[in-house]
Symmetry: C2
């Protein structure tokens, strides 16, 4: 029986991945020089398709890193001399906060209960904050921030940089890049690609801040600091030999999503999410973990399993459906289902049939 | 006509790469969780095969990073509070030095002319040196250090950590790990794999130093600092979602090399290198760039092209042979040929036939 992965990332691979990899091998993508024109064309193509797909404007640079976790490190290194502020409501937003602590910054966290969003009207951002770190979609708990709350923060604190983790919500999430300064994701979730590639968008304000820090002799990292990434980007190159295959595949998948149409992908994502949430809310053995409907993620659907998640996960697995267990403290109590463009409505109906 | 890449990395892919990738796709390697047993088995397998192939003893940890360039950064961050010493004789050894400068260390460089090795007997290592950084095989110029010189340094400075870049010499190079503290490579050279994965071996002395620095509140990085990598390694995991496909493929290629036998690979590498050097030394239009025979790399063969390298490189390309141009200042004057296990003796004879 063919397995389908509904895990939240790595997840089911893009249905055309195998064909794209065959193309890559046929065209010697794994052998070409990362200092040559063929590579620059791959870089240019991936960037252009991503800009189109995600609406990333020209005043943002597109940098390629090893992972989204690395993106957190590079953002802190290049944007914060002393103080960052982190909205923490799960393991991944916490990882961003811990990154800043490890990098010896005066990091501050504003916490919300697991499974809940924040009351932004009641939060105070300290005067010396240089960066506000937000996790749009908390992969551990399935809580999504409202983008209007994010934009309101930026309007209220126009001089503070806003960093947005869209790891498990891209390409679904609609971001107005006028109101954030950097955003990042990795490719093994919504793009259904092999892991090992992170993408970071940064605007000129971020570059400027990195330059200020550098002039102050603050340690902003080495090969992947913004000035270094920027100098390479100008040549359509990367400072190191990057994951060329990953960049090629990302361009191909972005093209495929463009052909489908991002609005159709968004609509279908919401339809599939509604189906699952409605099921979990109406079944006696389950309940949606996120109670506030406006905070429910469309791409990571988390259900409480009232009799424990071991049996339902095993039942799904016997039917070829691999879903995720609860994260950390919720292992054994939650079911987490990734709802990405690769997952079809009929697949979601099958999950419901099996669990019914 | 099928192209063969003799570039120094990325280079010709391993002849079984396509089959290994097909296996990976069939086994859902790109979809499995990086927190599950299947991934841990991939990790364990890659590490065990690499240890066997390269003779890396048990007191060394094996960490997976995004690139060899990242390895340089992590080594400096985790091993140096103030002072590192770098032997610089080309662009890649210089990159290691620049990394330390960028990370705000008091980095010192000991230079040799491009194309030459160092007179180790005449070099003075300052008393406050914490790390000596050595590039075994300078990919830019084709100069190899003698390993006995490396070991002598360690014996003379037993309290200084020795870092060895084996990026373009692994798996050929024979390292006695009693006399170095860390070593690193990337997979797109001697392993013929897609780029996007670096491997770092570190011993307990390095771990201890990182812990000392951490206790002193020195910034040793975040998710990829040694304590974090070590904690993940204990679970056969990585801190972030890594390049799982790359790790799987590395294990497979290491197994393939083990089946061939590392001694046979070494012997064949030397035979192929001798063939090329003898040809370049005897042909009126060419000369080996590295004059000192004991300093000539067996894996990166660099020739001066007396009438310029543009025409011979184009001639090779018309025959399906992609060789490398000179690096940096030597563009247009050098031919660089990667001599890795994927490159057969018959391929080298073809290069010679075409250039004759």
């Amino acid at each position: 029986m063919r397995k389908i992965f509904f895990t939240v990332g790595p997840t089911e691979r893009h249905p055309k991945l195998d064909a794209f990899i065959r193309d890559a091998l046929r065209c010697n993508i794994v052998s070409i020089s990362h200092r040559g024109e063929e590579f620059s064309e791959i870089y240019r193509h991936a960037v252009e398709s991503l800009r189109k797909l995600l609406g990333v404007p020209k005043n943002f640079h597109v940098f390629f890193l090893g992972s989204a976790t690395e993106a957190m490190e590079r953002i802190i290194e290049n944007s914060v001399e002393r103080r960052s502020v982190h909205f923490v409501n799960g393991a991944f937003s916490k990882r961003f906060y811990v990154t800043a602590v490890e990098l010896r910054k005066k990091a501050m966290k504003i916490e919300a209960a697991r499974g809940a969003s924040f009351d932004f009207s009641k939060t105070t951002i300290p005067r010396d904050a240089e960066l506000i770190a937000l996790t749009h979609n908390e992969t551990a708990t399935g809580v999504s921030l409202s983008m209007s709350d994010v934009y309101a923060l930026r309007k209220k604190h126009p001089n503070v940089l806003i960093a947005l983790d869209i790891v498990s919500s891209a390409p679904y999430v609609r971001v107005d890049y006028r109101y954030v300064d950097c955003a990042f994701f990795s490719v093994q979730k919504g793009f259904g690609l092999p892991s090992g590639l992170g993408v970071l968008f940064v605007n000129e304000r971020c570059i400027e801040k990195a330059n200020v820090l550098s002039r102050k002799k603050v340690n902003i990292g080495s090969f992947h600091n913004y000035p270094s990434l920027l100098a390479s980007e100008a040549k359509l190159q990367t400072p190191e030999t990057p994951n060329v295959l990953g960049m090629y595949l990302l361009g191909r998948v972005a093209d495929d999503y463009l052909a489908t149409g991002i609005e159709r992908i968004r609509k279908e994502t919401e339809q599939k999410a509604k189906l699952l949430y409605d099921f979990f809310d109406s079944h006696p053995d389950f309940a949606s973990f996120v109670k506030d409907r406006t905070a429910r993620s469309s791409t990571v659907i988390v259900a409480e399993a009232k009799r424990g998640s071991r049996a339902p996960l095993a039942l799904l697995a016997r039917n070829g459906i691999i879903a995720g267990p609860g994260y950390g403290e919720f292992a054994g109590r939650h079911i987490r289902i990734g709802n990405f463009p690769m997952h079809r409505l009929s697949d979601m109906k099958r999950i419901i049939r099996v669990l019914s």
